[in-house]
């Protein structure tokens, strides 16, 4: 009820401001272009508080400008001694009372919204057949990557979160090492990812990410977590429920599709236990368990970026495999040479690995 009134009141103003602010930032990441209910609520609070604050600034500015223009010494005379006024109880009351009223205007939606956004009571609601009615994603943050587990569906992915649109998605956040913070600016935010406890909240995704220029929303780590904090990005694909279900089914297939092409097959061998043993840290099946040492690569070929922020092509992938420290200082992935008895990988081997990894896909 209250939310309805708030939205209705602010609608006209918001539209105007949206046009004005459209130049501010990219829709993949800007909080000023909300793409979900949570971000929209937060944006409404931003507009409401901005209006109140603008009012304060205008009042202060008027008194301020008048005072410094009217009472300059050049106007008042060099020797003029002003009357030594002590104060005014009436005025003191006025500028105590008015701010309190303004704060009440802000306090009511603040308290309402604080409880509203923290309400995860429907998270565990189950349908008659025992399945949850809402999607829950377990997020584990690690130096410097993100794991996304869908416990109900029994699948795991990393670095790229895939979610259905137009429904609440619940998140359980925990860190595998040190404190991080989970933030998708244009969809709503943010919640810290602590090492000692699970934090829970929800977001809704009201827009399909395919409508965006880059095809994904940008997610960030917002808490300083070491040298590569700035590079600890993830991406979000929001798709409609039907497409999401298809994706889940594809992920649930235990056996990945057969690798095609000689080069890619060679890459698979290199990747495996008899080659460089990449697979001891990186799972390649979405149906695997959680707690991987490195990101699950089942969807690698479908991703938008390499290592969360590099352009998604074989060139960046090969650079990354050769020298991960160069691209994400402080991350835990070993240099390729150290897995190859100290010898750098040949161009051919790199090409093979790249071909194999780019072929890992669950999308049609």
């Amino acid at each position: 009820m209250m939310k309805g009134i708030k939205k209705w009141r602010l609608f006209a103003l918001m539209t105007t401001l949206l046009v004005f602010l459209a130049g501010c930032g990219r829709e993949e990441i800007s909080t000023l272009i909300p793409a979900g209910e949570v971000a929209q609520d937060q944006f409404n609070l931003l507009i409401l508080s901005s209006i109140v604050m603008l009012f304060v600034i205008i009042v202060v500015s008027i008194i301020f400008v008048l005072a410094i223009v009217k009472f300059r010494r050049s106007k008042m005379g060099e020797d003029m001694i002003p009357e030594q006024v002590e104060g005014s109880a009436r005025l003191e009351f006025l500028w105590t009372a008015v701010p309190i009223v303004l704060l009440l205007v802000l306090a009511v939606p603040t308290v309402y919204s604080t409880f509203d956004l923290a309400d995860v009571s429907t998270m565990d609601v189950q349908a008659e057949d025992g399945t949850s009615t809402h999607l829950t994603v377990n997020v584990t943050a690690a130096l410097y990557w993100w794991e996304f587990e869908y416990p109900e569906q029994g699948i795991v992915t990393a670095q790229e979160l895939v979610v259905p649109t137009d429904e609440r998605v619940y998140f359980n956040l925990i860190s595998a090492d040190i404190k991080h913070s989970f933030w998708i600016p244009s969809v709503g935010g943010k919640l810290d990812v602590n090492p000692e406890n699970v934090n829970t909240f929800y977001l809704t995704f009201d827009q399909q990410s395919s409508e965006l220029e880059d095809g994904v929303f940008y997610g960030k780590c917002a808490e300083l977590c070491g040298p590569s904090h700035a590079l600890m990005d993830f991406k979000v694909k929001s798709v409609d429920r039907e497409e999401f279900d298809q994706w889940v089914t594809a992920m649930q297939e235990e056996e990945p599709a057969a690798v095609e092409g000689d080069l890619a097959q060679q890459g698979e061998e290199l990747f495996g236990a008899d080659g460089l043993a990449c697979i001891s840290c990186h799972a390649t099946s979405g149906a695997g368990g959680t707690g991987g040492v490195g990101p699950n690569l089942a969807t690698f070929g479908d991703r938008n970026r390499v290592a969360g922020y590099l352009e998604h092509n074989e060139e960046s992938l090969k650079n990354w495999i050769e020298d991960p420290q160069e691209y994400k200082p402080g991350n835990l992935m070993p240099e390729a040479a150290s897995l190859n008895d100290g010898e750098a990988l040949s161009d051919q081997e790199l090409d093979a690995l790249a071909a194999y990894l780019m072929g890992l896909s669950v999308e049609e």
């Binding site: 930032g25 931003l46 010494r73 008042m76």
Partner: protein
């Protein structure tokens, strides 16, 4: 004073400052070392803005960048802003209440040297294996994971300098309670003294939680205790609470004295009594009180739950009320006044819109659900720079111009001062205004680089350009200081012509005993009252001229602090197997400290007397040796 110093020769002057217990000289020490650290912190700020001037810049490496942001924040808060404010408190507050010195001159000196050695120790980390890199907030999980000695430098350095600050706070509290001149009731105290009083109380209550937190940190890192080690059942959130229980009042420790300086300036240069003095005093006390009730608003996203978030959101909003009271009382002070736009007044006038802008974004962030978006983004970076630069640093610059003649007996150039102001002020808004929008556009804080595909390039470039203007402003200020010192045109008691409080009734700089006869205070703005009634002496006296008892200079505070400094290196390397000398160094350092304390305790130091004859001689224009 400086004419005496010139006669003494350079070495003797240095010795004089190393042993002084005179609050005015200690103020100069605070100003010089605080100013030095301000420049260091400023250089670090410039490196940050160079790195962020364009997308994907590789001017600084990721690790170095984290060290620089950590040291920038730590240096600016602990080693620049606070000491410079302590300089003004030391220089002015005893004069404002008509005292001959602070209550504990020896401790005053000890406080300074502890701060100084702590600050030097912290900055030596740059040359001894790497600076701290977990942010000035030093959140525990990252701090425990940090390799190298940086975090140990941070914990030990801040512990030592924190002792110094705590000592200073206690000293000021006792001074203001006990040493006010006859007639100087609490409600006649100048507002700068009031804010010093409240800020000192905050220091007294806020620094112990920090010290506790730092002790836990030292023990966790050096002796493998598990206060914050999650895998052993520790909890990192405890650090966040301890840090912010200190950290939020710390903001008010900085801003309240700034408010005090501006209150003095508004009254002086409007030639008008402070409007609503009583309201200003109570607003100050209220802000100090509320300052302890809001720390968790730094932790809205930690996951404390909606009840805690809502309570702390409302508590935070309430602070806007006393702050608003202050703003309007200042506006009404200049309203109907006779405003002279000297350099201090320009800063004070510019402070109002700058600080209001910082204040309103503070209220916006008090709205917890909105803060989920703003927290740890560039919006918060913009907010706290608006408050700290737009409030505290503008006050420091204003105070430097205002009190320079009282501290050094000569006036900074008004012309160069105005140049500094315009460069700094325009640069400040250029740098930080745009950062609000960077935050709203999704840019997290503390990122060493950003991609060209995030849409943040232009605003970051503008922000960096603004930083250059600020740097130019500070360079002009340095030129101003040098030129003023060389010219050395002496000024009289009341160089601004409209002084209202007791410090303007005595020579600039004052004699080392401040007041030959203790003044009698007849009301608020006591010097103004005497001036308006045509009293040529500027004050009436509460006592006849007589002998004055003064404390002796002492080298012991320096030695006590030096011992702590040496012991810290022992503690730092204590656990390294390849450094067997660490333990002896630790022991020697502590022996020096406790040994000198023992000497201080056992040796009687009764001070000395200035005789009435000497005072009369001095009044005639002769010189008394100030020891």
């Amino acid at each position: 004073m400086s004419s005496i110093a010139q006669k003494k020769g350079f070495g003797a002057t240095i010795w004089d400052f190393m042993t002084t217990v005179d609050h005015k000289k200690i103020a100069i020490l605070y100003l010089i070392s605080g100013g030095f650290f301000f420049l260091v912190g400023g250089i670090e700020a410039m490196l940050i803005r160079i790195q962020l001037a364009k997308a994907g810049n590789d001017f600084l490496s990721a690790g170095t960048y984290n060290e620089i942001i950590t040291m920038h924040g730590t240096t600016m808060i602990f080693l620049a802003a606070m000491p410079i404010l302590l300089a003004f408190m030391n220089a002015i507050m005893p004069l404002q209440i008509g005292a001959r010195d602070v209550a504990f001159p020896f401790l005053n000196s000890l406080g300074f040297w502890l701060f100084f050695f702590g600050g030097i120790f912290l900055n030596l980390s740059w040359f001894m294996g790497g600076a701290p890199d977990a942010g000035w907030t030093n959140y525990a999980s990252l701090a425990l994971a940090s390799e190298g000695k940086g975090i140990d430098f941070y914990s030990l350095g801040l512990t030592i300098s924190g002792f110094g600050t705590l000592i200073a706070g206690i000293n000021f509290l006792v001074t203001i309670i006990n040493m006010r001149a006859p007639g100087m009731t609490y409600m006649r105290m100048p507002l700068f003294t009031w804010t010093t009083f409240v800020a000192s109380a905050l220091i007294l209550l806020a620094f112990p939680p920090l010290t506790v937190g730092l002790f836990f940190m030292v023990f966790d890192r050096m002796f493998d205790s598990n206060f914050f080690a999650v895998e052993m059942g520790g909890n990192t959130i405890i650090w966040e609470h301890l840090f912010w229980i200190f950290g939020h009042p710390e903001v008010y420790i900085l801003i309240l004295p700034a408010f005090g300086i501006f209150s003095e300036i508004f009254a002086i240069f409007s030639r008008k009594r402070l409007f609503g003095y009583t309201a200003l005093v109570f607003a100050t006390i209220l802000i100090g009180f509320y300052g302890f009730m809001v720390w968790a608003h730094h932790m809205f996203t930690v996951g404390l739950g909606p009840t805690a978030n809502a309570v702390f959101a409302l508590a935070t909003m309430i602070i806007a009320v006393p702050t608003g009271i202050k703003i309007f009382n200042w506006l009404l002070t200049i309203w109907g006044g006779n405003i002279s736009f000297t350099v201090p007044m320009i800063y004070a006038v510019a402070f109002i819109p700058s600080f209001v802008a910082g204040g309103v974004t503070g209220v916006m962030q008090a709205i917890a659900p909105l803060d989920y978006q703003l927290h740890d983004s560039y919006f918060i970076v913009a907010h706290f720079h608006y408050v700290i630069v737009g409030g505290v640093v503008l006050a420091i610059l204003a105070g430097t111009h205002l009190y320079w003649p009282k501290m050094f007996g000569t006036m900074l150039s008004e012309k160069l001062g105005k140049w500094t102001f315009w460069f700094f002020f325009i640069g400040f808004h250029l740098t930080f205004f745009i950062q609000h929008f960077l935050g709203l556009m999704g840019m997290p804080r503390r990122v060493y680089t950003f991609g060209a595909d995030q849409g943040w390039d232009l605003f970051n470039a503008i922000s960096s350009a603004g930083a250059v203007l600020m740097a130019i402003g500070i360079i002009i200020l340095l030129v101003n200081v040098v030129m003023t010192t060389i010219k050395n045109e002496r000024v009289g008691n009341d160089p601004w012509g409209d002084g209202r409080t007791l410090e303007w009734a005595i020579p600039s700089p004052p004699p080392f005993y401040n007041f030959a006869q203790t003044p009698l205070v007849r009301g608020l703005d006591t010097f103004w009252i005497e001036k308006m009634e045509g009293n040529k002496k500027g004050m009436i006296f509460a006592e006849p001229l007589g002998d004055i008892h003064m404390p002796n200079n002492s080298f012991i505070p320096f030695v006590i602090s030096l011992g702590m400094f040496i012991a810290s290196f022992g503690a730092l390397y204590f656990l390294d197997d390849d450094k067997p000398w660490a333990l002896p160094v630790l022991i020697i350092g502590l022996l020096i400290t406790f040994g000198s304390m023992l000497v201080r305790s056992l040796k009687d130091d009764l001070g000395f007397h200035i005789t009435k004859a000497e005072l009369l001689e001095d009044a005639k224009g002769g010189k008394t040796d100030g020891h």
